[in-house]
Symmetry: C2
Subunit: 338 residues, 2 copies
Amino acid sequence: MDKRITIYDLAKTLGVSAGTVSRSLNDHPSISRKTKERVISIANELGYKTNKFAVNLSKQKSNTIGVIVPKLNSIFMSTVLAGIEKMANEAGYNLIISQSLESMEKEKINAKTLYDSGVDALLVSLAYDTTDFDHFAYYIRNKIPLIFIDRVHNLPNCSTIIIDNKLAGFEATEHLINQGCKNLLYISGDLRRNVYSERFKGFKEALAKHGLPFDNANYLESDLSPNSVKHAMAHIKDTHVPFDGLFVANDTFAALCLKELKKENIKIPEDIKVIGFNNDPISDLVTPTLSTIHYPGYELGVLAGQSVISHLNGGINLQPTNAITLRHSLIIRESTLK
Amino acid sequence: MDKRITIYDLAKTLGVSAGTVSRSLNDHPSISRKTKERVISIANELGYKTNKFAVNLSKQKSNTIGVIVPKLNSIFMSTVLAGIEKMANEAGYNLIISQSLESMEKEKINAKTLYDSGVDALLVSLAYDTTDFDHFAYYIRNKIPLIFIDRVHNLPNCSTIIIDNKLAGFEATEHLINQGCKNLLYISGDLRRNVYSERFKGFKEALAKHGLPFDNANYLESDLSPNSVKHAMAHIKDTHVPFDGLFVANDTFAALCLKELKKENIKIPEDIKVIGFNNDPISDLVTPTLSTIHYPGYELGVLAGQSVISHLNGGINLQPTNAITLRHSLIIRESTLK
DNA sequence: TTTAATTATGCAATCGGTTGCGTAATAAAT
DNA sequence: ATTTATTACGCAACCGATTGCATAATTAAA
């Protein structure tokens, strides 16, 4: 009763071969219009559904794209994913999404699982602590498109999609300086991740350009989790020369800092000016509103989606060094007013 | 060279049949320990990887779970997804995630696509405007587990996982009343969605219990998008009897309202007390901090994942009316202080 | 040692499409 | 009307597992 209709069923009722049915359904040129129409009409009538499992086996591809992100529940990442999903969906691809939870071990397992389940391509934003990249070797060896997003690593034949984090870091820092800050603190994530190290470079370059000294006190590495805010506060208070400018590696952590600073009766922006990163919705809702760097997450996702799909379809677009850089922008709000 | 090793290759080099190899790899009882070990060791040596496509075709199942959510880029939904993903991943299932973008049409397409690609189960949180449910008929007819999350609908043989929105709405409202509010406004989403209509019921019940009148002015339907804040403000200002308490259907919109109200020089909580919903991170970062209802999104996801997996594994747990209700809690912050 | 009971393996069909190659059917050219 | 192109379709191998059933190998019982 509920048995699925196959091309063989169609072939039998039409008195043609299964091959003809298959080709008709796929609009193959070597089938006459008349036959195609007969096949299609019968297929509709009988409620034929193509069995993807069989197609997959036969074609050795799954029509799915794998994604590994550090965490799903971050507004930035979920925005990126929304962009990817939109493109994938429009192109008829399914998205298998997994999270590394910022652990290289889990990232490895996910990479393997996705490989085994036969994804046609893989999009990755690296975990916090990923140091080696052997788990991507299968993909490269088997020419499965591999694209890094945001938190990237330079591997041969892999595209990367990023913003110019160094420049963004430079601009954020220079903005603080232009607003009169003399002693800045960059609160960073793990420097092994390009996004943080690049921003750090920009930070230092801006200091250098404006003749401001840099020493270790001007840099604080953090895991950017809510629990770490108190470490950051301790660092800020313990430093001999008081900071008057804060460049924080993401808006959420910046917002947390803002809250703590206010608790300590430190005035923003009068005493300390603060700039975040990402332009998360939160940055416009806190008090004072938070200056930040707009990071176009959705566009990033869209571009990543488009890129991977053009890889898959065209096979073109496989330039050896293929790095796409999106435009960021500085957003000035209350937290850095003079 | 790069050709994949199949069970036939293993069979040939071992001098046994493919069936034996298959059974060995799956630890089938009718194979001797010795043979199993030989097979497994050769498999490792040759770098054998099972071809999921073949397994899927043979077993007619995909080891994937489909998910349709309204939007990926909401902190609540991505938190739910994080919970689902964790459970699915631990159980060896892949997650195919798609978003309806709050449109029933896209929800239908997604449901069909996921069905066609052979997901073993489907988790759904309904789009804003979904009114009919035919697109889930395949699933029910073919006994593919279908579970609704958060934004649910009662379909035969489908589980739902929710919180008690009516009670939560009641508690939020009663809290406002206890803090001295006399003229409340409930800013709601579309009442066709259970979450909003249930909260509305709770709202009205609390008013009734405390002898407060209710008329249409006490209720405002909104799409809860940032653009709609001005409508809400207009409603608040145009009403003859000024409101002194606001119950807003989610924290993000509540935060937006907070900001606008402050712009209008309305004091929170002195003039108007505000309570949100969800306990998004943002609710603790705005000024004043926002009272809200804690909605355990991650736990919801975990439970949804567990539930679907136990359906798939045990086949048990298929009670006809299977509604899981999670515990919520009232979180009192500054925005509703006396 | 022979027979019966167990245990281990092989055979071959099956899952449902795709596709290269060969040929029949039709159309065009001579 | 015959030959040559073209077009339309069929055949059958193939993708890589799984699995019911038959049989061979081994062990236990008689």
